[in-house]
C-alpha cells in the first residue's frame, strides 16, 4: 500500500508540471491588461508603464514562468496586484473556509443519499422509489443560486432564524460558525446528494441481483445483514468514485454559493481575482485547486482497498 502510494505520488510530478504550464498559459491568455485595470480611467501613460515594470510584465514569458514556478514550489505565489498581500497567505486564509463548507456539504449529502439510495434500491419500483427518484431529479435540476436565495428568503427574511450571510471561524465561535454555514452547506449538499442517491440506487440494485446475495438470503441471513455486510460493500465502490468526483466538484461549485452567502472562501477569491485581473491570485488559486482535486482522487483510490478487501495494491 505504502509503495503504491509513493509510486502514485512520484508519477504525478510530470502531470503537475504540465498543469503549471497550462495554468500559467491560461492566465496569460486572458484578455485585458492588468495594469490598465488596476489604474482604471485615471491612468496616465507613465503611470501605466511604471506599473507594468513593477509587475514584471515587461519580461519575457519564459522568464515570468520560471520565476513563478520557482516561487510556487516553495509555496510562494507572489503578491496580489490588488492590495499587495501575499497570495500564499490569502490562500491559507480562504482554503480552510471552503474546505469546511465542502466537508459540511458532503456530510449533508451523505446523510441524505445513503438512506435514500439504499431505500430506493431495496424498494425498487415501488411508490417509495418513485418518490425518491422524483426528489432526486428535482435536486439535480435545482440551480444552486435559486436554492440559495430560496433558503435565505425562508430562513433569514421570513423566519429570521439564521443570518443571511457572513462567516465566523470555527475556532472563534463554533456555534455561530455552524449556524452560518448551515444554509450554504444545504445549498451545496442537496445537488450532490441527488446525484449520489441515483448512483447508489443503481449500483446497489445491480448487486442485489447477484447470485451471492441470493445465496446469502437462501442461507437464511436477516435482510438487513445481507444488505449491509454483503451487497452494500460491493455497491460502495462506484459510489466512492462518484463521491470523490463530487467532492472535487464541490470545491469548484462553492463559487456561486459563496457569492450568494457572502462567505470569504476560495471560490470568491477566484471570482474577484478574475474580475480584477489579479493574475498571481488566479494562478495560485487554480494551481492549488488542481493539486486538491488530484489529492482527492488519490485518496479515493486508496480508500477502495479499505472498502473492498479484494483490491490490493501490490
Amino acid at each position: 500500500m505504502a509503495v503504491f502510494a509513493l509510486r502514485r505520488l512520484l508519477s504525478s510530478i510530470p502531470t503537475l508540471l504540465i498543469v503549471t504550464v497550462i495554468v500559467f498559459a491560461m492566465v496569460k491568455l486572458l484578455p485585458g491588461d492588468p495594469a490598465r485595470l488596476i489604474l482604471g480611467q485615471e491612468a496616465t501613460p507613465q503611470a501605466l508603464e511604471e506599473l507594468r515594470r513593477s509587475l514584471g510584465l515587461d519580461r519575457s514569458l519564459l522568464q515570468q514562468y520560471l520565476s513563478w514556478l520557482g516561487g510556487a514550489v516553495r509555496l510562494d505565489f507572489g503578491t496580489s496586484l490588488t492590495d499587495n498581500s501575499s497570495v500564499s497567505r490569502l490562500i491559507a486564509q480562504k482554503l480552510p473556509v471552503t474546505l469546511e463548507l465542502a466537508l459540511f456539504a458532503m456530510l449533508i449529502s451523505l446523510l441524505i443519499s445513503l438512506p435514500a439510495g439504499i431505500l430506493s434500491a431495496v424498494r425498487r419500483n415501488t411508490w417509495v422509489d418513485r418518490l425518491l427518484t422524483l426528489l432526486a431529479l428535482s435536486g439535480i435540476s435545482l440551480p444552486n443560486f435559486f436554492l440559495g436565495i430560496l433558503l435565505i428568503y425562508l430562513f433569514s427574511i421570513r423566519l429570521a432564524w439564521i443570518p443571511a450571510s457572513g462567516y465566523t471561524s470555527l475556532l472563534e465561535n463554533p456555534g455561530r460558525n455552524l449556524l452560518l454555514l448551515l444554509l450554504p452547506a444545504i445549498t451545496l449538499g442537496v445537488g450532490s446528494a441527488a446525484v449520489l442517491t441515483r448512483y447508489l440506487r443503481s449500483s446497489l440494485s445491480e448487486t442485489l441481483n447477484q447470485d451471492y446475495v441470493r445465496t446469502a438470503h437462501a442461507k437464511g441471513l436477516p435482510g438487513g445483514q445481507v444488505i449491509s455486510k454483503h451487497a452494500l460493500r460491493n455497491a460502495l465502490i462506484p459510489f466512492l468514485t462518484a463521491f470523490g468526483l463530487q467532492l472535487g466538484g464541490l470545491l469548484g461549485g462553492a463559487v456561486i454559493t459563496e457569492q450568494i452567502f457572502s462567505i470569504p472562501g476560495f471560490g470568491r477569491l477566484l471570482v474577484d481575482a478574475v474580475f480584477t485581473r489579479d493574475l498571481p491570485v488566479i494562478q495560485g488559486v487554480v494551481l492549488v485547486s488542481a493539486v486538491a482535486v488530484f489529492l482527492v482522487s488519490f485518496l479515493v483510490d486508496l480508500s477502495y482497498a479499505a472498502v473492498d478487501p479484494r483490491i490490493r495494491y501490490n
Binding site: R36, A47, D83, L90, I149, I152, T168, R176, S262
Partner: protein
C-alpha cells in the same frame, strides 16, 4: 429529541452573538470590496467610502458641492491664482498619536503627488511645491493657475496620512491605513469585512456609533436580501428595480439624490465610420434619453445634456437634453448605409442598455453589432483607439474641470475618441485658469456647444446616488459625491 436540541443550540448561539455585537455597531453593505485603502494608490470609487472615514482631508464638500473647511480652517488664493495658503486646525492628532501639523500635511500632499505608482499625479501635476510656512500654515505653489485645485483636495489628493505610519508600513500602508479621521482602521478580511472603530478623541467630537463595519456584496439581490434580513443597516447602491419596494417598506429609508457622474457613448473619430461627423450626429439623434431613464432605470437616473449634472456649479439651462429625432438622423446619414460595432462590458444593465441602443439606432436604419469585453480590455482598446463606438461613463468630480478637461482636450488622458479641436483646447485651458465660477461656466458653455456639435461623445444620463438604510439610522447627508460620511450618524 437530539435534533431539536441541536437546533436550539444553533439558535441560542446566534442570539448570543447578535446581542454581544451591541446596538452601536453599524454595518454597511457596499457593491464591491474596496481594493486599496491608500489615498495615493486608490483608483476605485468604492475605496473612497472607507477612506473618507479614516482620513481627514484638507477641505471637504457640503450638500451643495461647496468647498468647506476640514483640516484647513481657512484659505487664501493669491498671486494670480498661483499661491494657495491654508491655515490648519490646531491640536489635531492622527489615531497613532502623531501630531498633525504643517510638516505632516506637506508629507501627505507630497506623498500623494510623487509616490511611485500614485494615481494622483495627473490631478496634482500643476503643483510646483508644497511649503511649510509655520506649524499651522501650509502653502501650495502652482506652476500655472488651476481653478479645480480646491475641489481636487476634497477627494483623495487632499487626504492626509500619518507620516509615522506611512513610513513604517511602506508598500503595506494600504492594508494598515492610519489617518486623523472620525474612525480608525482596525482590520480587514478580504471579501468579508473592513472594520473601523470610532476615534474617541476626534477633533470634531467623537462619532455617535462605536464601530463601523463595511461588507462587500457584489450581487444586488444579495445586498438587498441582507438589508431585509437585518444583517446590514445600510446599503449603497440599491439596484434600481428594488427602489420602489424599499420606498414602500415602512422599515427603511431611501435616499435618492443627484450624483456628479455621467454615462454615454464614445465615437472613435480617428477612423471610419465615425471620422464622419454626420454619422456621429445621426447616431446621437436616435437616442431617446427620457425613455432610457424610465424603462431601464425606473426613473433613478436623469437624462443628460452634457457633462455637468443639474445642480452642479457649471450646469447651464442653455444646454438642453437632445430629443430623439429619427428624421434628422436619416437626413444626416444622407442615404448612406451605416453599420458599426458597439463595445461594452458584460452585466445585466449594460447588456440591456446596449440592446435598447441597438433598437433605437435601427429606427434610422443604422445597424449596430454589440461586442462585450471585460472592463480592462475595454479601456485598453479605448486607449489604442481600436473600436468604433463604446459605452463608457465617469464617476464625476466636484469641480467641472474634472468632468470635461481630460475628456476633450487634445491627447487628454480620458480622450478615448481621439478628438482634437484647437478652439476647444484653448477654451478648456482658459476655464481652468479662471477663478470665478460664473466666468468658468460661461467658458465651458462656449466649449460645450462646439463639442456637442462635433459629437465625439454623446451624453445619455446622469446617475443618482441610491442609499437605503433602516429607519433608526439618522444623520446621513446627501452629499453629491456619493460618499457616505458617518461622523454624525446615529443608530437607534
Amino acid at each position: 429529541m437530539r435534533k431539536s436540541q441541536f437546533l436550539m443550540a444553533f439558535l441560542s448561539a446566534a442570539f448570543l452573538s447578535a446581542a454581544s455585537a451591541s446596538a452601536q455597531t453599524l454595518t454597511v453593505g457596499l457593491d464591491a470590496d474596496p481594493p486599496r485603502l491608500d489615498p495615493a494608490l486608490s483608483t476605485a470609487l468604492v475605496d473612497r467610502q472607507v477612506m473618507n472615514q479614516i482620513f481627514d482631508k484638507l477641505v471637504d464638500l457640503d450638500v451643495n458641492l461647496k468647498v468647506v473647511p476640514a483640516l484647513a480652517t481657512s484659505w487664501k488664493v493669491t498671486n494670480g491664482g498661483l499661491t494657495y495658503t491654508f491655515k490648519l486646525r490646531s491640536g489635531v492628532k492622527f489615531t497613532d498619536g502623531t501630531v498633525l501639523d504643517a510638516a505632516a500635511v506637506k508629507y501627505g500632499l507630497d506623498r500623494n503627488r510623487t509616490l511611485e505608482g500614485s494615481a494622483r499625479k495627473n490631478e496634482m501635476n500643476s503643483i510646483k511645491e508644497v511649503k511649510v510656512i509655520d506649524a499651522q500654515t501650509i502653502q501650495i505653489n502652482l506652476a500655472q493657475p488651476y481653478g479645480p485645485l480646491l475641489a481636487v483636495l476634497t477627494d483623495r489628493a487632499g487626504m492626509i496620512v500619518s507620516p509615522t505610519a506611512a513610513k513604517k508600513a511602506g508598500a503595506d500602508f494600504q492594508n494598515n491605513p492610519v489617518g486623523s479621521g472620525p474612525f480608525a482602521f482596525v482590520s480587514r478580511v478580504r471579501q468579508d469585512n473592513i472594520t473601523l472603530n470610532a476615534n474617541k478623541s476626534y477633533w470634531g467630537g467623537a462619532p455617535k456609533i462605536d464601530k463601523l463595519v463595511y461588507r462587500p456584496f457584489t450581487d444586488g439581490d444579495v445586498r438587498y436580501a441582507n438589508l431585509l434580513s437585518g444583517a446590514v443597516q445600510a446599503i449603497t447602491p440599491i439596484d434600481p428595480k428594488d427602489i420602489s419596494k424599499l420606498e414602500q417598506n415602512a422599515k427603511f429609508n431611501v435616499l435618492n439624490y443627484p450624483g456628479i457622474g455621467f454615462q454615454g457613448v464614445w465615437f472613435n473619430v480617428t477612423r471610419a465610420p465615425f471620422n464622419n461627423k454626420n454619422f456621429r450626429q445621426a447616431v446621437a439623434a436616435t437616442i431617446d434619453r427620457e425613455a432610457i431613464a424610465k424603462s431601464i432605470f425606473y426613473g433613478t437616473v436623469t437624462p443628460a445634456a452634457g457633462p455637468f449634472p443639474p445642480g452642479t456649479p457649471a450646469a447651464s439651462s442653455a444646454i438642453t437634453v437632445q430629443k430623439p429625432n429619427i428624421a434628422l438622423a436619416k437626413e444626416k446619414l444622407g442615404g448612406k448605409p451605416l453599420s458599426f460595432t458597439l463595445l461594452t462590458v458584460p452585466g445585466s444593465v449594460t447588456t440591456q442598455l446596449a440592446q435598447v441602443y441597438q433598437a433605437m439606432f435601427a429606427q434610422a436604419g443604422i445597424t449596430a453589432k454589440i461586442e462585450q469585453v471585460e472592463f480592462g480590455t475595454l479601456l485598453d482598446r479605448a486607449d489604442k483607439q481600436d473600436y468604433d463606438a463604446l459605452m463608457l461613463g465617469w464617476s464625476g468630480r466636484p469641480d467641472p474641470d474634472g468632468n470635461i478637461y481630460d475628456f476633450f482636450v487634445t491627447d487628454g488622458t480620458n480622450n478615448q475618441a481621439g478628438y482634437s479641436n484647437k478652439t476647444v483646447d484653448s477654451l478648456l485651458a482658459k476655464a481652468r485658469a479662471q477663478t470665478a465660477m460664473s466666468a468658468r461656466t460661461a467658458t465651458y458653455n462656449v466649449a460645450l456647444s462646439t463639442i456637442i456639435s462635433d459629437t465625439p461623445y454623446t451624453w445619455v444620463y446622469f446617475q443618482r446616488n441610491l442609499v437605503a438604510s433602516v429607519k433608526g439610522l439618522t444623520g446621513l447627508k446627501p452629499i453629491p459625491d456619493g460618499i457616505l460620511r458617518f461622523k454624525d450618524v446615529d443608530l437607534k
